[in-house]
Each structure stands twice: as structure tokens, then as C-alpha cells.
Subunit: 344 residues, 4 copies
């Protein structure tokens, strides 16, 4: 078993890491790190567990440690740190020889840091060697994208064959994406908030790196643009988005559907990989977050309403679980790929 630590272990995404790693066949939780305030106390006491499944017995009595490489006994750490803390701390861990799988946005767009979705760009892992060399680190940092970006990009991967020219995307995002205390109930009851800070920028930039080409020395961005409009809605988990796709080859809706159906992630040997990364729904009104977010134990992206639009567009809807597929599960799948590829 590989020794795994979790940074930011008491927060919303941190708790998801605990939940998903508690019975993991390859990783064993050996360290739960949180703020100085929580350090020294049992996790069960400080975590204020907010998930519907019970707090795993195995971590209940684990003493929380400070977020310090010297105090965290682990070969790999999963980082659920807020961006403003992640920048420095994650580097410290990598410097100290630890593999960091981060859900934070801090390092995502750095040239020698892999921004990864195992189903999409496994070859980008090679950036690790460049990163280690550049920075003289024993460890490394590997990141997963923003939650909305993940759902969108997973559906774009099998469509790259059509020569994507541009994407319009409108999101309807769940409240859990903002953290447990992020959205006051008075802000969102009977309401929509048509703004999520930096979300549109992330979707527009991260997608291009993820679908870019690794040429041996770096990643060349994919040659299209994404234009996003992001909205928060009263949904617990599950980001829904409507996409307009335009491409060189102008496939029919049927051809796009076939591309989704034929998509094989080639990751069936990774424990967190779902049987089907992409699920195509035939009902006219699906996917829906409450109905479909738990597909593939929260790791599948569901797609529906594939149809033609104006100006040769294909329109469709996709949806995935934002704190599993879009956050903790994404980092863990990255870690599983790292193990498979010998980086762990």
C-alpha cells in the first residue's frame, strides 16, 4: 500500500478525498493535514463531517497534523488546499520528495506542470520529468482541472477527430463547488447567480492545455477557442452544461453520438476508473444532476440531447459530479495513472 496524505483534509473536497480513499486498494491514508487550529486533534473531532456516508472508522481517531512536509508521513499527498495556500505549500511538498496530486488551481497553467485527465491526455504525464529537471525536485506536482472544465473536456476528447473550431458553453453549477460555507442559503434559494469568480476564464484556458499536444518538451495548446458563461443554481452536486460545438468536419448529431459511444478510456485497470467514462442518455430530458451524478460511482460524465444547431453546430448537454469526477475523484484517478506509469 502506498502511503497517502490529504492536505486540507477537513474541507468539503478534503472530506471527499477521505471518503474515496478510505477503502482504496492501492492507497492507505497515513496523514490528514489541516490548519494549525485542527492539528493535534482527532480527525473525527475536527472534521465536522458533512457527507451522507458515515465518517470512515479507520480515520476517526487519526490525529490531524500540520500542513508541513516534515509532519506528513506520506509518499503521495492529495491537495484540497485553497489556491492562495496551495502555491507555496505544494511546492514545499514536491521539493521534499513527495508526489503531489492537486485539485488546486495554483500550478495548473505552469508550463512544466501536467494538467491531467487520464482519459484525455495521459501522455502529458511526461511533463513530470521536465518539471523535476527544471526545478531540481525529487517529488512533483500533478494537477487536475477545474470541475466544469473536466466535464466539458471529457466530452470534447472523442470529438477532436472532427477538428474542433470553437465551443460555446453555458454552465449550471452546483453549490458544493463553492465549498461548504461558500453559498449562503439566502443567496440561492429561489434564485440563480449568473456569476462564478474566475470560472469562465478557467474553462476557456484549461481546456486548451488539456487537449493540447505534447511535443517532447512541452504542451502546445489546442487550436480552438472556448467561450463560457457560468451560472450557479440550487443543486447540491452535479454541474450541468449546454455546449455548442463547431468543427472542421461538421459531423451529424448521429456521428457525434457514435463518437461518444465508441470512446474507450483504456483505463479499466485503474480502480477509480468507471466502466464507462461517457454515458449517452436517450431520454429527451436527460442528463439531470440528481438522477445521473452518481453514475460510475460519480466518475462518469453523462451526455444527452445531441442535436444539430445553426451554422453547422452540434448542441448537446453534459453533466458530471463536481466534487467526485470534478475534484477528489479526478485527483485520485491521476494518482492511479501515476502509479501505473511508474511515477509512484
Amino acid at each position: 500500500m502506498i502511503k497517502a496524505g490529504i492536505l486540507g483534509a477537513t474541507g468539503n473536497v478534503g472530506q471527499r478525498f477521505v471518503q474515496l480513499l478510505a477503502d482504496h486498494p492501492w492507497f492507505e491514508i497515513t496523514a490528514l493535514a489541516a490548519s494549525e487550529r485542527s492539528a493535534g486533534k482527532p480527525y473525527g473531532e475536527v472534521a465536522k463531517w458533512k457527507l451522507e456516508t458515515d465518517l470512515p472508522e479507520s480515520v476517526k481517531d487519526l490525529t490531524v497534523v500540520p500542513t508541513d512536509p516534515k509532519k506528513v508521513d506520506a509518499d503521495i499527498v492529495f491537495s484540497a488546499l485553497p489556491a492562495e495556500l496551495a502555491t507555496g505549500i505544494e511546492s514545499d511538498f514536491a521539493k521534499a520528495g513527495v508526489v503531489v496530486c492537486s485539485n488546486a488551481s495554483s500550478h495548473r497553467m505552469e508550463k512544466d506542470v501536467p494538467l491531467m485527465i487520464p482519459e484525455v491526455n495521459p501522455e502529458h504525464l511526461a511533463l513530470i520529468d521536465i518539471q523535476k529537471k527544471n526545478r531540481g525536485w525529487d517529488g512533483c506536482i500533478v494537477t487536475n482541472p477545474n470541475c466544469s472544465t473536466i466535464m466539458m473536456v471529457m466530452t470534447l476528447k472523442p470529438l477532436m477527430q472532427f477538428g474542433i473550431k470553437n465551443i460555446h458553453v453555458a454552465t449550471l453549477q452546483a453549490i458544493s463547488g463553492a465549498g461548504y460555507d461558500g453559498i449562503p442559503s439566502m443567496a440561492i434559494l429561489d434564485n440563480v447567480i449568473p456569476y462564478i469568480g474566475k470560472e469562465e476564464e478557467k474553462m476557456e484556458s484549461e481546456a486548451l492545455k488539456l487537449l493540447g499536444t505534447f511535443d517532447g518538451s512541452g504542451v502546445k495548446n489546442a487550436p480552438f477557442w472556448v467561450s463560457a458563461a457560468c451560472h450557479r443554481v440550487m443543486v447540491m452536486d452535479g454541474h450541468t452544461m449546454s455546449i455548442w460545438l463547431r468543427s472542421e468536419k461538421n459531423p451529424t448529431a448521429e456521428e457525434v453520438k457514435d463518437a461518444f459511444l465508441k470512446f474507450d478510456s483504456g483505463l479499466s485497470d485503474l480502480p477509480t476508473s468507471p466502466k464507462k467514462a461517457l454515458i449517452v442518455r436517450e431520454e429527451p430530458d436527460r442528463p439531470q444532476p440528481r438522477m445521473d451524478r452518481d453514475q460510475g460511482r460519480g466518475m462518469s460524465v453523462s451526455i444527452g440531447r445531441i442535436r444539430s444547431g445553426h451554422d453547422n453546430a452540434i448542441k448537446y448537454v453534459c453533466m458530471g459530479h463536481n466534487t467526485i469526477r470534478g475534484a477528489a475523484g479526478a485527483s485520485i484517478l491521476n494518482a492511479e495513472l501515476l502509479k501505473k506509469k511508474g511515477y509512484l
Copy 2:
């Protein structure tokens, strides 16, 4: 006072008509028509009043009449009938010499039927004369658009000067748009439904007629296209939408904002016309349905987040009250314009 009847008076939009007309300075409710089941009983008994304001005393004891021109004593009728009934019944009323202001979709796209937003295309009213001649009717049918279409088109009107080429629009629509029993709570709690029957088609077609040119004999559609993606969310009232606009003149966000701010409906003499038809919000996260839907007594459309997008697009958000501005209030404003223009 002009004698006004309401068809479909017990439904969701029918109740809004009652609410908005109860104290109207020009119209007096003289007839409330509903199904045979309700006819003959006092409105207060059969209406199952669902609005937050009290059922107006003046209509509580009015006896409901059948939906029959012979039984409805009125110079004008406001129709909140479902489309499948509206087709025949509205024609019967027009034939019988009554002016029909309809919220139903049945006649909207007929060539000699005005599809109206007073702020947008008052000159289309001239179709009435053609309609009367064509059909040999003493009365006439005037329609207002679909609720989502209204919000969008009102914001497009002042942007026509830039030479609109195309619109992408994603909507987040309120549950009241589906009628009181339309959306079961189990369908929408903690959920999004990314589909509304025929809504995308309506937005894509009605907008072009509304913004089209009346050439003396008919309306020539506006020369651009609209591509819509419609979603239902857990909001009581208020349809929110994100728009990508592309145009010949590629205005800046500032120029688009100025166009909104300068827009004057010229309707200040109509009682239902709001002080400002378009309201521009400066906050980064507005408009929001719960906060802004009652602006201008529900008749204003609020706009925000005006910004540049890829490929010379201007992106913005707009929102309006779907059962007032988008339904009953829209019909009443049409009626007020008819009166002003001498058709009543």
C-alpha cells in the same frame, strides 16, 4: 372603461391577468371564462387562487362563464388558454367582433397576426388591418411572444443598430412557466431539467418575426439566426439567460451598455409600461431572478455582466419576470398600445 374578459381565468397566467387588471385604469374585468366545470360558480370558489397578493374583492363573486363569445360580455379578451384550445376559440372571439390579446402560441406565427412587444415593434400592429380584411373579421387577434423570447428580444432591440448576425442563448427558466401543476416538486428539487418542450424552437423563430420589418403588406423576418439551449431550474419566477451576440459593427461592451442605457420605449403614457424597460446592473453577479424580477412592477428586463467574448462576441445576462413581463403583463401592454393606436 373598456370591458375586458379573461379566457382561461383560473389558471396560472389567468390569475396574473386578474391580479394585474383588478385596478387597471382603462380596463374593467367584466367576464371571467373557464372550463364548463367551473362555469356558473363564483370565481372566488373555483379559482384556487395561488398568488401571494389576495384575490381582488371585485372579482371574488363574479360568476364564471363558459369560454364562448356569446357568454362573454367584453370588448377585449385576454387569452391565457392552452395552445390546443386557443386555436379555435380565439378565432371564434375575433370573428364575433372581439379584440383578442393572446398569450397562447397558436396564432403567433401566422402571417397576418401581429406578434407584438410594444417596446420592440409597435408598427407591426398594422397587420391587424390586413388580418381583418383577409379573414373578414370584425375583431382581431394580437399575440405576445413566448416568455423567454420576450426577455431576449427586448434586449436585442437597441442592438439592432449594430447589425446583429447571430445569437447564442442559454436560458435558466422558472417553474411558473410550466403552469401550476407543470413541474412536480420531485422532478426539480436539487435538480436541473435541461429540456423545455418547443421552447428552443419558439425562441429561434419568434425573435426573427418580432425584429422583422413591416413593409406595408407583411413582416419580413430579421436577417440573423438565434440558437437556443433551454433549461428549467428551481426558481419560482424569473427567466435568466446568457446571451452571446455577434454583429456587423462589433461594438465594445461599453457601446452595448450605452445602447441599453439610452433605450427609450416611448411608452410612458401606457399604464403598464415601466419607467425603464431595460435596467442595467453594475454589480458583477446581477441580475438575479429573486432580486430583480419585480423591477418595474415585473415589467422591466434587467441586464448585467456585459463583456467581450471570443470572435467579436458581446456576452451578457438578462432576466425578467416570466408571468408578468413574459405573459400577462405583455398581453396587457399590447392591449394598452391597441387602445392608444385606436384599435379599441
Copy 3:
């Protein structure tokens, strides 16, 4: 395997029966009965499956049959029929030799019909023999209580030792209790409905029969009263209730808690029986429906806030999953008890 049919198989509770029986170790779904409209068609086509787990493959292609003992090939039927249909149909099945486990209210209060919660009154099963004799039936009808009653009565069972004198109970009930189309979203968003038809009456009468004494010939009601106030709230699943208990022995809160903790259902050999029928939460703000309803695969009742009140009352909160513990799961547990006791 025992051949099991489901009556009312396409509705909300009917779907729960299908979900819970699909992998049951003792029962095999051999017949799905629904209205004439659905009969003859594959279940997958007519069911409009609304549960978050996928429609089980094993029933997708099963042809729906009419609700007629001659068309339903089963040794036992689970009835999710509405009360107005259940009265006659369930009798017909029992007459035809079938064991009927019913969730309907129709027969609950009949003297020779067992109203059962296996953890509470297994000895009442003996009414079956009386029922068969009285009615000359080969089959029989066994009922489970109303959903709210179940949660309350399960917590009262271990408190009977204190000599219960009376109960005040206020409920906060989930929307799923009214069926899929029962509560329009416009009725309940940002709202409470302080009324549920006949619910208070059911809680007040069924509890006394359930906790009554079987004396060989019939059930003598328990000698206390229940006074209920029922409310509908915007929760998907999980009925929460606050209880004031008064008793002869005036136990302390600690003694009441001990009684809950010591409660052993003695049903560990029944597959649907949860490990713990009653779960006591220590947190000040639990149980909560979203957090606790899935405990024991939806079959446990969670209890919290046990405290002293005025006039020697003990106050506490309890909560359970209304469509599992309170409906389909309750019927299935009854059937398991029937099998264990040799009635099947």
C-alpha cells in the same frame, strides 16, 4: 425463490418495490401489474423510472400485466395501490390464495388484518389465522402502517416499558410521501404546507393498534393517546418528527436513550432488517433527513436531541426514510417475517 408480484408497479412506491426486490435473496419478481393503459407493454417502457439507481435490467423487458389475480403469477404480491383501488383488489388477491403485503391504508384498521412492523408487533401475525377463518380465504392481507406512523412507533416500542400515557408529535414530511405528481413545485418552493390529508388521523389511530396487545382473538389498543400535527416541507425523502412523550414512570433522558440503545429487533436473520433498527445520534442538530435517511439502507430510524421537557415529558427527534422504511421496505420486511414464520 418465492414468486413475487407488485401491484401499482409503475408509481413512486411501486418503483421502490422493484428497486428493493430486484436483488432480493428470497423473492423473485415474476409479475408487475399496473393499469390497463400500461398492461401488455414492457415495464421499461411504461414505468417512467424516477429513482436515482438505474432501472434493474431484470425487469426492463417484463411485460406489465393487468391488476387481476388471474393474470398475476405470484405467491405473494406487494401492493402499492392507491387506497381507493386497494380495498377491492387486495381482497380479490387474498381470496385467490395469494399473500398480500400491502402499503395501502384500506385494510389497516380492520380487526382481523395484521397491521405490522416486524420490530414492534410480530405476534400480531397470528391475526392471519383468524382472518383466513373469518373470511374463508386461502390467502391473506398483511398491512404496514402509514409512513409517519412507522418512524414514531418504532421509537415508542422500547419506551412501552415506561408506561406511555400520551404523545404529542409534530412532523416535517418529505414530498415523496405524496407520490411523484403529488406536490407541484410551485406549491412547496420557499414554503411549508401545514396540512396532509388524513395523516394526523392515521398517526393517532394506527399507533394504538400497532402497540396494542394480541390476546388470542384480537388486538386490544394500547392505552394511551397520540396527538399529531403534520406538515409538508421541501425535502425529497425522510420524514422528521419531534415527539413529546409522557409516561407513568417518568424516565430521565438518559434512561430513554439507554432504552433506544438496548433495543434489539431480533430480526438479524431477515435480509431487509438493518443492523440497527434504531440509531441514536449524539450531535446536537441530528438526525437530519438528507444526512441520515440512507442509514441501514434506508431501514433504520435515527433519533436525536433526547432531552427533558415540562410536565415530566421527554422530548426527542426521530427521522426515517419514508418510501423505504416507511413504505416499500416496510412491506418487504413484513413479507420476510411471514416467510420466517411459515406463512409463505
Copy 4:
């Protein structure tokens, strides 16, 4: 016009004070006090206005002052301070000669501080003279009760004639009662929280003082007890509660209803007093928070479902707007009574 200041002016209840006082015929807002962080800046900039009506123009540019009697130019201050700050600050203002109308709980139960509902115990105002004498203050502190207590006690007032013996009450309380950031959306979506800190204690103690007898030197508590169970539900505004009343005279439901209908507050000369303090609904499923909270501009309490219960109880439901009738409006009505009685 009387010069009025608001303490805690930027919070949830503070904003309600601003909204309700902006056009008040007797009071003029002359000072808005908030934390040091906000002091010195325009109210419109720091308030983060959260109410659906627009921020009143008259206060937009008012410079926020520190919460210090020397900086607040006012004859009366309305306090929306949190309890932990209110204790000292309110005393400082009273000492400085200002009349303090407080919504905070700090001073409510002090013997020489009036805890007031003008419809209920106007004679308790006489405590002011005792307070001034006791404390040597020029000003004074007058408090209004906790929001839930107000709704309940207003309905109990006309029932005192029956000789109340005891009250069981279960509440379903709105999220706005916890302040804007009080309840995270992730805590309450699809959920009930069966606990509100100190709420049950407040209802159980404050009610007795409010309905107590002023004997010239102090208030003697009313001779009955209240036992409360409090729950938070997903409602924006409006606390609903079910009450079981037991009394010496055992009135019928009809007699209780008559008592409500006959209740006359005698306050028609106070601008904030609603036409009817108590409204009796005849529908079986009312009052409901979304439908009835705005009755009497948020100042009426609506009552329904008056019925007999066990053990001579009368059961009924009542509901009122918690941040208007239950907070800001309550304080303002107190101030109006003070003015009428010559204390201002």
C-alpha cells in the same frame, strides 16, 4: 420628525430597519452605525444590500458611523446588534440619553427592561420609569421578543381569557432568522435542521414575561408553561408553528376562532400597525409562509387549522414574517408606541 439611528445597520435585520424606516412618517434616519471596518464609507457601498426592494436613495450616500453614542446623532436608536455586542453598547446609548429599541436578546429578561409587543402588553412600558430610576439613565432600553415568540404570543393574547395552562409548540423556521450568512445552502437544501440554538429556551421564557402582569413595581410571569421544539426549514421568510393549547375553560375550536376574530389591537393610530394583527384563514392548508407572510405589510400573524385535540387541547397553526413582524417591524412598532405614550 424624530431623529433615528440604526445600530448594526449593514446586517440582515439592519437592512430591514432601513427599508421600513426609509419612508416612515414619524422617524427620519439620521445615523447608520456599523463596525469600524465600514465606518466612514457611504452606506450604499458597504451595505451589500440584500433585499428585493431597491436600497432607498435617501440613505445610499449616508456615511456610516461607528457604534458610539458620541458619533450617532439620534433621539432613538434601533438595535440590530448581535447579542454579544448589544449588552454593553445598548447600555452606553441609554446612559447617553438615547431611547434604544432593541431586537437583541441581551436585555430582554432583565427585570426593569420592558419586553414588548404593543398588541400584547402595552402596560409594561411603565417599566421604563423604574429602569431610569434604577439605573440613573436619561435614556432607556426597550426590547422586542425573539421572532418565534412573537408569532406565538400574539395568538395567545386573546386566549388568555380561557386561562391558559400550557402550550406545546413546534416551529418550522425560515433561514433568514439566522442572518444572511447563517445557514449555508449545503446545510439546508433537501433537508431539515431540527435544532436552533437557544430558540426553545427563548420561547419558553419570554412568553411568560410578555403575558405576565405588571403590578406597579415589576412584571409577574404568566402562570403557565410553554414547551417548544424548533426546526429550521428551507423557507426564506416566515416562521410557521403548530400549537397545542390547554386551558382552564376548555373552549371549543369555534370559541377560539371567535376570540381571534374579535381581537382588536387598539393600535390603529400607529403607522406600522397592520389593519388586522391576527388573520384567520379558512382554507384547510393555510397559513403558508410564502403565501401569507406579506399580509399587513409583513406585520400580521396568520392563523389556521383551528381544531380540537386530545385532552381538551385546541390545536392550530400560526405564521408570521420573521424579519418584519418578528424583528425590525416589531422594534419600530415599539418605538411608535413609545412616541404615542410620550416617552419620545
